[in-house]
């Protein structure tokens, strides 16, 4: 029978198939863990006297509550935020006690969990990958089945390397046509979420397909899959191809030598068969997509940067959202004042994002009164950017260049946006208070974020691109 990519990966990981009374027991190939959603799971192990069953399939980093200033990472200055310090220290103790490999605070490869998995070659086609973090969907860019879980399930995977799961429905998002210059993968996924809606993917695993997707680099594919959860989907997947294999080949934890050849041969089977059907299909014309930005308080509330805030009379929730944002129905979003610009996160914290940012900043200055924070997704991204001299471009423009972490995406580590301030952010969520109490977030691409930093106003990056 013809199968979708998701169904193939699902079938290969069923330890016990599902029945009417019981979910499937699904084997997990890679369990990524971090300091915020694991403590309660380690406690569960301790209470029940259980070990981590497969330490060889478990990998830990610290990213969410870690500081991004160099003095607190390498300068001997203790983590200033006491609660974060306690969490980081406990995580290190937990990993040591349960023999889990951890990239500690000063490790040269530490970074955001969804950046380092691919970067180290841990993320591979056909794997089942989980993490106590909803943006685990990022890893689906490699043709893995990757999804976020809660802390109770983190405990289940620690103890049994398995999860109880009901099979999800499938959704194909078919994207055709070339993206115009200045239009990025971030604009594409914002446009997709706008089309599907923030709950349109609920209960589904998305497969992104079509010529546009095939033409994307791996870093761009990761940006797309990363925000699948923002459409409500459990996971987003892209079938592996030569782009995928070229990215992975030679990475330290990817198969090497003869094992690599064998692995690639198997991975080439991980495509949706001709004639396989999806529960739902959506068509997207990529040629019509323009630079996008959000104006409201969920990621589906987006418009073209050249567009106007919609008018929805009689919609109280919509009105409340605009009141929170301090924006008016009908106003042009371009030209709206900006206080802070954040480039980073598991959505847009990779080298290509920093190169795009530098392309706009080079030879220009961040507008007076605007704070621009550039936070690399990992320490390896940081060094790669510095090898290209990007840090000098950022410094010359007046932007702050930090150590890696989740940082201002969710403000857990103290990198926050002040009440009432506007932040054009390359992250993934514009929820109320996401970047700090009372913060106002406008999600956009690194190009749009950088252009807005230069003018101090929401700006279509195409006006600054040579």
């Amino acid at each position: 029978m013809a199968k979708t990519l998701f169904e193939k990966v699902w079938d290969l990981h069923q330890v016990v198939p599902e029945t009417a009374d019981t979910p499937a027991v699904l084997f997990i190939d890679l369990h990524l863990t971090h300091e915020v959603t694991s403590p309660q799971a380690f406690t569960l192990l301790r209470e029940q006297g259980l070990p981590v069953r497969r330490t060889d399939l478990t990998f830990a980093t610290m990213d969410h509550s870690t500081p991004t200033t160099t003095d607190q990472i390498f300068g001997g200055v203790p983590i200033k935020l006491a609660s974060a310090r306690g969490q980081v220290e406990q995580f290190a103790r937990n990993c040591a006690e349960f023999n889990v490999e951890l990239l500690g605070l000063q490790n040269e490869k530490r970074g955001i969990v969804h950046i380092i998995g691919p970067e180290m070659g841990l993320t591979q086609p056909g794997k089942t990958i989980v993490c106590g973090d909803s943006h685990t969907s990022t890893h689906g860019a490699f043709g893995a089945l990757a999804f976020g879980i809660g802390s109770t399930e983190v405990g289940h995977v620690f103890a049994t390397q398995c999860l109880l799961q009901r099979k999800a429905k499938t959704m194909a998002i078919n994207v055709e046509g070339a993206l115009a210059p200045g239009v990025t993968a971030k604009d594409l996924i914002l446009a997709i979420i706008h089309e599907v809606g923030v709950s349109g993917g609920t209960g589904h695993v998305i497969e992104y397909r079509g010529s546009t997707i095939r033409a994307l680099s791996m870093e761009e594919r990761m940006t797309v899959c990363n925000m699948s959860i923002e459409a409500g989907a459990r996971a987003g997947m892209i079938a592996p191809d030569d782009t995928t294999f070229a990215y992975l080949e030679g990475r330290e934890r990817a198969p090497q030598g003869a094992a690599w050849t064998t692995a690639v041969a198997g991975w080439r089977e991980l495509v949706t068969d001709e004639g396989a059907t999806f529960d739902r299909e959506v068509q997207i014309d990529a040629t019509k997509i323009q630079p996008m930005i959000t104006y409201g308080t969920h990621p589906g509330m987006s418009i073209q940067v050249s567009g106007h805030v919609p008018v929805r009379d009689g919609d109280a929730v919509f009105a409340q959202s605009l009141a929170y944002m301090g924006l008016n129905a009908g106003q042009a979003i371009a030209g709206a004042a900006v206080d802070v610009v954040f480039v980073g996160s598991c959505t847009n914290g990779r080298l290509s994002d920093l190169i795009a940012t530098a392309d706009i900043l080079r030879g220009r200055k961040v507008a007076p009164g605007v704070q621009m924070l550039i936070v690399p997704g990992s320490q390896q991204v940081k060094r790669a950017a510095e090898a290209l001299g990007l840090h000098t471009v950022f410094a010359a423009a007046g932007a702050e260049w930090r150590e890696s972490g989740c940082s201002m995406c969710l403000g857990m580590n103290g990198d926050t946006v002040a009440k009432g301030q506007y932040c054009v952010s390359t992250s993934n969520r514009n929820f109320e208070g996401r970047q700090g109490v009372g913060s106002r977030t406008l999600l956009a691409s690194p190009l749009t974020a950088a252009a807005s930093a230069i003018t101090g106003r929401v700006t279509d990056p195409r006006t600054l691109l040579a």
Partner: protein, 199 residues
């Protein structure tokens, strides 16, 4: 986990759509390393002003909401972050059921594991519940029925195994640990295909 069989409670209505888990429990409270005590921070930014004083117009600060176990929320509650701190906070506060027309996947999953019953109802029932805040309802998990004050019984779906666990107050861990033989057999037969995290 406390078993759920029958709940009798008045409802609290928060009709806003897309109430995300960042609202249910803001990220700055996630540096905790335990599950306990999060009820105090439930909906913190909607519930308290900058000085930490309860905002009188917020629904949970009103006398009629006290002691209610059933939260009626707008479509797509629990979207966003996978933080299980969201159901921990709701349960610690005293809620045992969340009713909506749509509930986000990860939040629904996490809720089922913590004795918080996610109840999906049709639009008409939801509309009635939103229009009648404080209604005295009965949640009967044995029969998967939501009883309304006028005697109507509305059926709701619950995944069979999760229902079993909720009715008995048991965790899924015990069931998973009993699959040890099957897991070992799977590992033995698939070992060659698995690439370890270590190089």
């Amino acid at each position: 986990m406390e078993p759920i069989r029958i709940l009798h409670s008045r409802t609290v209505v928060m009709a806003a759509t897309n109430i995300d888990t960042d609202q249910i429990i803001p990220a700055r409270f996630l540096t905790t390393t335990t599950k306990e005590g999060l009820g105090a921070q439930l909906f913190a930014d909607w519930r308290y002003d900058a000085a930490g004083t309860p905002k009188p117009d917020f629904i949970l600060n009103q006398p009629a909401s006290q002691g209610c176990q059933v939260l009626v929320a707008g479509r797509n509650i629990g979207c966003g972050s996978s933080r299980e701190h969201a159901p921990w906070a709701l349960v610690d506060y005293g809620f045992r059921a969340v009713v909506s027309t749509e509930i986000a996947d990860i939040f629904r999953n996490n809720s089922l594991k913590n004795g918080l019953l996610p109840i999906i109802v049709d639009a008409a029932t939801h509309q009635w519940l939103v229009a009648n805040p404080g209604a005295e309802v009965t949640v009967d998990l044995q029969h998967c029925e939501l009883g309304l004050p006028d005697g109507r019984k509305v059926l709701f779906p619950v995944e069979a195994f999760a229902r079993f666990c909720l009715l008995n107050g048991t965790d899924e861990m015990g069931y998973l640990l009993k699959q040890g033989t099957a897991i070992a057999a799977y590992e033995a037969s698939h070992g060659q295909q698995r690439s370890r995290t270590t190089a």
